[in-house]
């Protein structure tokens, strides 16, 4: 039904530019795995390596334990959904979906039947004989998924398939993709630069930056325990402080900044002399009239408020002129802080993380 995918020491060079740098990971069979990263970090390149359109400069790709070196895309058990879908505009919808069966020499009646089944699966029953140009963006999306499913791939590769859709449709398709993945049990490798999408859909997420895999974890782990500053900043907001570690004891450190000395948890790989910064999530930054005695605290001034519905973002400025943000639940019974008011931002040492900047190449 599905297979696992292993990237072992994969690197990819274009000329002397390294687009993918020594990536090691095993994606489990039946897993919904996302590669998350900013534009140009090498996500598409990884997908094209797995589907076989390019050979890695170094390293090996194994699908279901089999070394794929030298195996052409048409012989790999993968199906790729392209960033721009790449449907065949000159074929009617059903032929698009049945194309993979056609090349396998399956007769026309069976192809048609299978195409109609798949169209039902993606909720497009009446579109079999339509042209590609007659479909909406979301419908094309679903045809692309059906076309890929038709070849019964062991591994489905999706390259930002939802990026062209509007927000509502995108949210709807997220749920749908997730449902299709659960129903079929196929391994999904999903690429996105949208952190919300990655966190909401995936069993595990791999965060990438500049060709380097920064962290591979479950979505909540990624958010709660980011491996480094890049991951913390790419996935969610932070209040950040520069400074220097004074002492480390039992996983906690005292961190000296221009705003005072703060308690903070030590992130992975951080030692006394490593260059780190302190990261605090806005929802852990609490506003109060008075400075807390038991946690870290800085005096701040409210510069602006943004009402987001169930919560409110409060923008702040500290004594050194740095900006911060605090997130408050929307509670109609408690008054909102007003612009210009002088408050204290309190944050617990357990919610403060000292992180190195990012894993770099080499």
């Amino acid at each position: 039904m599905s297979e696992d995918v292993t990237l072992s020491n994969i690197s990819m060079d274009f000329g002397n530019f390294r687009a993918v740098d020594n990536v090691n990971i095993t994606i489990k069979a039946g897993e919904f795995f996302s590669f998350l990263g900013p534009s140009g970090c090498g996500k598409t390149t990884i997908l094209r390596l797995i589907s076989g359109f390019m050979d890695p400069t170094a390293g090996k790709i194994l699908i279901g334990g089999k070394d794929m070196t030298g195996t052409r895309p048409n012989e790999r058990p993968t199906a790729l959904i392209f960033q721009n879908l790449a449907l065949f505009p000159l074929m009617p919808i059903w032929e698009n979906i049945a194309f993979g069966l056609e090349v396998r020499g399956i007769d026309k009646a069976t192809r048609r039947k299978k195409a109609e089944e798949l169209l039902k699966l993606v909720d497009l029953k009446d579109s079999a004989d339509k042209k590609v140009s007659q479909l909406s963006g979301g419908q094309k999306q679903r045809v692309a998924i059906a076309r890929a499913l038709a070849v019964e791939p062991k591994v489905m590769l999706l390259d930002e398939p939802l990026s062209a859709l509007d927000l509502k449709l995108r949210q709807h398709m997220r749920a749908e993709l997730r449902a299709i993945q659960k129903r079929t049990g196929v391994t999904f490798i999903y690429i996105t630069h949208d952190q919300g999408e990655a966190l909401a859909m995936s069993d595990r997420v791999g965060v990438m930056s500049q060709g380097v895999l920064q962290q591979v974890s479950a979505p909540n782990e990624i958010y709660n325990n980011p491996a480094n500053g890049f991951v913390a900043s790419f996935v969610g907001e932070n209040n950040i402080f520069d400074g220097k570690i004074k002492a480390i004891k039992g996983g906690m450190a005292s961190f000296e900044t221009s705003q005072g000395v703060f308690d903070a948890k030590v992130g992975p790989g951080v030692e006394k002399n490593t260059v780190v910064r302190l990261y605090v999530r806005p929802e852990h930054s609490l506003l109060a009239k008075a400075a807390s005695k038991t946690s870290n605290s800085i005096p701040v001034e409210v510069t602006d408020l943004a009402f987001e519905g169930n919560f409110i973002n409060v923008f702040l400025r500290d004594a050194a002129g740095h900006t911060h943000m605090a997130q408050m639940q929307n509670d109609p019974n408690s008054p909102l802080p007003s612009r210009g008011s002088k408050l204290h931002m309190n944050f617990d040492g357990d919610d403060s993380l000292l992180l190195v900047h990012a894993k770099t190449r080499g």
């Binding site: 895309p73 048409n74 392209f82 790449a86 449907l87 065949f88 000159l90 090349v103 396998r104 070849v151």
Partner: protein
């Protein structure tokens, strides 16, 4: 029309329409109509023009249909023009695909330059160059003998061989360019999607690349066929005793026989042939005239 007036103003629009009309009417339509009219009149000495014998008839066309030699040459021209068209297609398609999708886009223009440079030389010189190359004591035979591939020189310029070589060489680019344009406009992801879904290279071409480039293939075929059927220089320069081209017959009527009337009739037969060929190609490839014109 109103759109044109809005964009360019009244006077400029009038000028453009007049120029187009001039080109169409004076330079294309009227000469052809005059010739068409000629083709139904007999060839007469000047003093008999307007006389009793000067009436419209199909006699000039009948001359053709009662001359087995001319009919034979006509069909040879059709046959070998088709052969050249097919040869050009077979040679151009892989090259066009290679240039459009395989070669690094940065080097493609230099390759095109190399392909186009020979066009700077006039057709007559290019034909003559082939005449020299293919000559019995020419460089081709010398080279083949030199590398030991053949013992005795081969007579290349027999039958229609040399004419075919010359025509393919002269008109290859007219096939290559439209097909190259068509293939270039195909999204590379579609080729990859086809391969990813399991298609062999052959099937990817058959189902994805060729259907997309059909308009280019059609316009290439139409152009090459018409250029071949209408070519005079190449078939006469590279002719062997047994190769005659229909245009040479027209030329004979007009300039050797000074019989413009029969010549015109023959020319319109050639035109009819080309029209039939164009519609045939469009039917076979299932494309519309606007697709070809693009």
């Amino acid at each position: 029309m109103t759109e044109l007036i809005r964009r360019y103003g009244k006077s400029l629009t009038t000028l453009m329409v007049l120029l187009t009309a001039f080109w169409l009417l004076i330079l294309v339509l009227i000469p052809n109509l005059v010739l068409f009219q000629f083709s139904f009149k007999p060839y007469l000495p000047v003093d008999e023009l307007g006389g009793a014998k000067d009436f419209y008839s199909l006699n000039n066309y009948i001359t053709f249909f009662t001359s087995p030699i001319h009919i034979n040459i006509f069909f040879m021209t059709v046959l070998y023009s088709s052969a050249v068209t097919i040869l050009c297609l077979v040679l151009s398609y892989p090259l066009a695909y290679f240039l459009a999708k395989v070669v690094n886009p940065k080097t493609a223009p230099s390759i095109f330059l190399l392909l186009i440079i020979p066009l700077w030389v006039s057709e007559i010189l290019r034909s003559f160059a082939w005449f020299i190359i293919l000559a019995f004591n020419g460089p081709l035979n010398a080279m083949l003998q030199g590398i030991g591939l053949i013992q005795d020189p081969i007579r290349w310029i027999t039958g229609y061989n040399a004419v075919i070589v010359g025509l393919v060489y002269s008109y290859l680019l007219f096939m290559l360019l439209p097909i190259y344009n068509a293939i270039s406009s195909l999204d590379t992801n579609q080729i990859e999607a086809s391969e990813d879904l399991g298609a062999s290279l052959w099937r990817t071409h058959w189902r994805v690349v060729i259907p997309h480039s059909k308009p280019g293939i059609a316009s290439g075929c139409v152009m090459v066929f018409m250029l071949c059927a209408g070519s005079v220089i190449v078939p006469s320069t590279l002719a062997s005793p047994s190769s005659r081209w229909f245009t040479e017959i027209i030329q004979q009527w007009m300039f050797e026989g000074l019989d413009w009337n029969t010549g015109a009739a023959y020319a319109f037969l050639l035109l009819a042939l080309c029209i039939i060929f164009v519609s045939l190609v469009m039917r076979v490839l299932n494309v519309r005239l606007v697709d070809i014109a693009k």
